[in-house]
């Protein structure tokens, strides 16, 4: 999976579904923690190096799609991927969000309180 690509991803086991745009590292960490495994236990189950799993989880490096699937399966999950039409963010919403992210958390809260007239 290359950085910058947008996928809709699903980590699935039976009735559990999760739908959010996320990184491969987040997906691996969530699958591992949901199944109650440590990185060492996932390493043992998947046959992958523990330090490499840590790097994947931190998104320092990105696993191949096949490796990602193997890791998720070792946690008891599977990966479903669906192509969906790409909708670029609305430019005005994007600009507003960028401005908000340039503020501190305190400034964001105070801007919201001001906007609601409080």
């Amino acid at each position: 999976m290359r950085d910058g690509n947008r996928y809709v991803t699903y980590a699935r086991n039976a009735s559990d579904a999760y739908d959010a745009c996320m990184t491969s590292g987040t997906l691996i960490r969530q699958a591992r923690t949901r199944s109650g495994l440590s990185q060492a236990e996932l390493s043992e189950r998947s046959g992958k190096d523990r330090a490499q799993i840590a790097r994947w989880e931190r998104d320092v490096v990105t696993p191949s799609l096949e490796t990602l699937r193997e890791l998720l399966q070792a946690c008891g999950f599977d990966l479903e991927m669906t192509l969906v039409p790409y909708q670029p963010p609305d430019p005005s919403d994007e600009a507003e969000l960028q401005r908000a992210l340039e503020r501190t958390p305190q400034e964001r809260l105070q801007a919201m309180l001001k906007a609601r007239g409080g």
Partner: protein, 168 residues
């Protein structure tokens, strides 16, 4: 006219009573960068007995009332209930012991970050990933814009983190 809402008063009261909790919901998303408006605070408290006792004292000080006007009794009101909605002198306060898609306080606190909000407050706020996770699991149409915003925040934050790694 907007309903009274003073998140500083609510958070200061919780801090004064040394309640352990994580902020979630609209206020949490605003702190992460969402530009939505909100009238209240949603918190996930630790459900340990001592913490619920402290939370009860804080609620008493905030003059918290259930929708039926009665005072909340946490140990009774939190059992089998997804959300305990309260009105306080400082606005709405929702107590959510186990938000959808999570295992409650112990699950959220690991990725939560203490965010400086001024007036000496640094409450623990659930991560953007966890906010997206909760909204995704609820799968409510009205939450779609908030979910999209959180997803974009995650992408941008991830981009920033990746940039930092590259600079090292």
């Amino acid at each position: 006219m907007a309903e009274p809402f003073d998140p500083y008063l609510v958070l200061q009261t919780l801090e004064r009573h040394r309640v352990t909790y994580v902020v979630i919901g609209g206020l949490g998303r605003v702190i992460h960068g969402s530009t939505e408006l909100t009238d209240g605070i949603d918190i996930v408290p630790s459900t340990r007995e001592e913490n619920l006792r402290r939370l009860g004292l804080a609620l008493e000080e905030l003059n918290a009332r259930r929708p039926d006007g009665k005072q909340p009794a946490l140990e009774r009101d939190l059992v089998g209930r997804g959300v305990l909605e309260l009105r306080t002198d400082a606005g709405e306060l929702k107590i959510v012991p186990e938000p959808a898609g999570t295992r409650g306080y112990d699950d959220l606190r690991r990725r939560a970050v203490r965010e400086p909000l001024g007036q000496g407050l640094r409450p623990s706020v659930a991560s953007a990933d966890d906010h997206a996770r909760m909204l995704a699991v609820l799968a409510r149409e009205q939450d779609r814009p908030a979910l999209q915003t959180m997803q974009r925040v995650i992408e941008l934050e991830h981009g920033l983190r990746r940039g930092l790694y590259m600079e090292r």
